[in-house]
């Protein structure tokens, strides 16, 4: 029985390597400013890096202040040559807490979304 168990476990470990390359859902890998962080001064842009390439036409990000007002420049873009990156410019931000809201669709049509905050000037 132990031999059977070892064979099964080894087979399970080998399956991922034998699978075709797939893309799947795009999850947020990291961001600048970092999720939940505090930065001393207003950042010029918010940049998000995802685990999969994005479909530009259906991926967007906005940034709002505590009052729910847009503080981004409305110029969300996926830079050429970096298809898993999404960035948007910001207005000059006074000290406070800001919310980043993103909705993206991976190139395999899977939608995901997320929300996080960061503080400027210690919040």
């Amino acid at each position: 029985m132990n031999r059977i168990i070892l064979t099964l476990v080894a087979s399970m470990m080998a399956i991922p390597a034998a699978m075709p390359s797939a893309r799947g859902h795009a999850f947020l890998d990291h961001a600048t400013p970092a999720v939940g962080s505090a930065v001393p001064q207003s950042p010029p842009v918010v940049t998000l890096w995802f685990t999969q390439d994005l479909e530009p036409a259906f991926s967007n990000v906005t940034v709002t202040n505590d009052a729910g007002e847009r503080v981004d420049l409305g110029n969300a873009q996926i830079p050429a040559g970096s298809p898993a990156e999404l960035r948007i410019g910001l207005k000059a931000l006074p000290p406070g807490t800001y919310t980043v809201i993103w909705h993206v669709v991976s190139v395999d049509t899977h939608p995901t979304q997320g929300t996080f905050t960061f503080d400027v000037g210690g919040g």
Partner: protein, 307 residues
């Protein structure tokens, strides 16, 4: 979006359709991703396959040992309606007796997604599970000689909507099942088949959620894809009780690693009543996301295959 605008018009209908209906497999509710749990039925319809789940059960009261190898396939027929089919194989070793092997009963399920509440990270699903008579080794492995109908309500709730003053509680989530077993035969070989009340829960702490939506604490792969959890499940007979018919249940602490197109889970199995067994068991599961592997074909609901 400034890049590749040229293709947006042509792609728009296909992507809009995919992004609003067929691609919403997995357990997503708003910002929350719910992984497929092992003991607790998932509160979402999906295109997924467990291939396989390998279980070493705790020893039975008489000292016998069992190993199980299970395969399950979940498939959406429409975006909100899905089916599940599963089969298991058992190795049974009683003390001083030759080992017995064979198939367990075939089980199926029909599931309807009642609701998905994104802002509150809530999911609800109605299901009807069926375990079919005479589809396993009845004599040797005690597979049932009767069909059992099991209506269930499955739910999930993420706590991302807690106040931001409680940041490290927001990655918590719970999923649960409430259901009944109704055997279609009241007695088998002189032993009553009681109706049962089944209840179980999975308590999860999502490190992916912590990283994406609360605070980046610097975790990187594979640690930012881990979801520690504890699952509990109990079954209590409601009628036709007899000597030895009592509540059975297990507690299963473990961990899930969720990747882009599959997840791997491992759990310990701790029996919580004498009737459940004694000692420590364990399981490991390899679980495939078919919607990620085949996003434009088999991974879509059947109703969308020809669209």
């Amino acid at each position: 979006m400034n890049r590749n605008r040229w293709g947006a018009g042509a792609l728009a209908p296909a992507f809009l359709f995919a992004a609003t209906s067929g691609a919403l497999a997995h357990g997503f509710a708003g910002d929350r991703f719910f992984p497929a749990t092992i003991l607790t039925d998932d509160p979402f319809v999906a295109d997924e396959m467990s291939l396989p789940t390998f279980t070493r059960s705790p020893n039975a009261a008489d000292g016998s040992q069992e190993y199980h190898l299970d395969v399950d396939l979940a498939k959406r027929l429409t975006p909100d309606f899905g089916i599940v089919i599963g089969r298991g194989w058992t190795y049974h070793q009683s003390p001083g007796m030759p080992a017995v092997t064979g198939f367990d009963a075939l089980h199926t399920a029909a599931q309807y997604q009642l609701f998905i509440d994104g802002p509150h990270e809530m999911l609800g699903l109605l299901g009807l599970n069926v375990t079919w008579a005479h589809t396993g080794r009845v004599q040797a492995l005690a597979a049932p000689d009767f069909t059992t109908l099991s209506p269930t309500f499955d739910f999930g709730k993420g706590f991302g909507d807690l106040p931001r003053s409680l940041p490290y509680l927001r990655p918590f989530a719970i999923t649960g099942n409430l259901g009944f077993d109704f055997p279609t035969k009241t007695e088998s070989a002189g032993t009553p088949n009681p109706d049962n009340f089944n209840y179980g829960f999975a308590f999860e702490y999502s490190l992916p959620y912590l990283q994406c939506c609360v605070k980046d604490i610097g975790l990187r792969p594979p640690f930012n894809q881990l979801i520690p959890l504890v699952e509990v499940a109990f079954s209590t007979p409601m009628n036709r009780t007899f000597a030895g018919a009592t509540t059975t249940g297990t507690v299963q602490p473990g961990i899930i690693w969720s990747g882009p197109y599959f997840q791997i889970a491992a759990e310990a199995i701790l029996p919580v009543t004498h009737a459940t067994g004694h000692g420590l068991g364990g399981l490991i599961q390899f679980h495939i996301y078919l919607d990620d592997l085949f996003p434009r074909s088999f991974g879509r609901p059947v109703s969308e295959w020809l669209q």
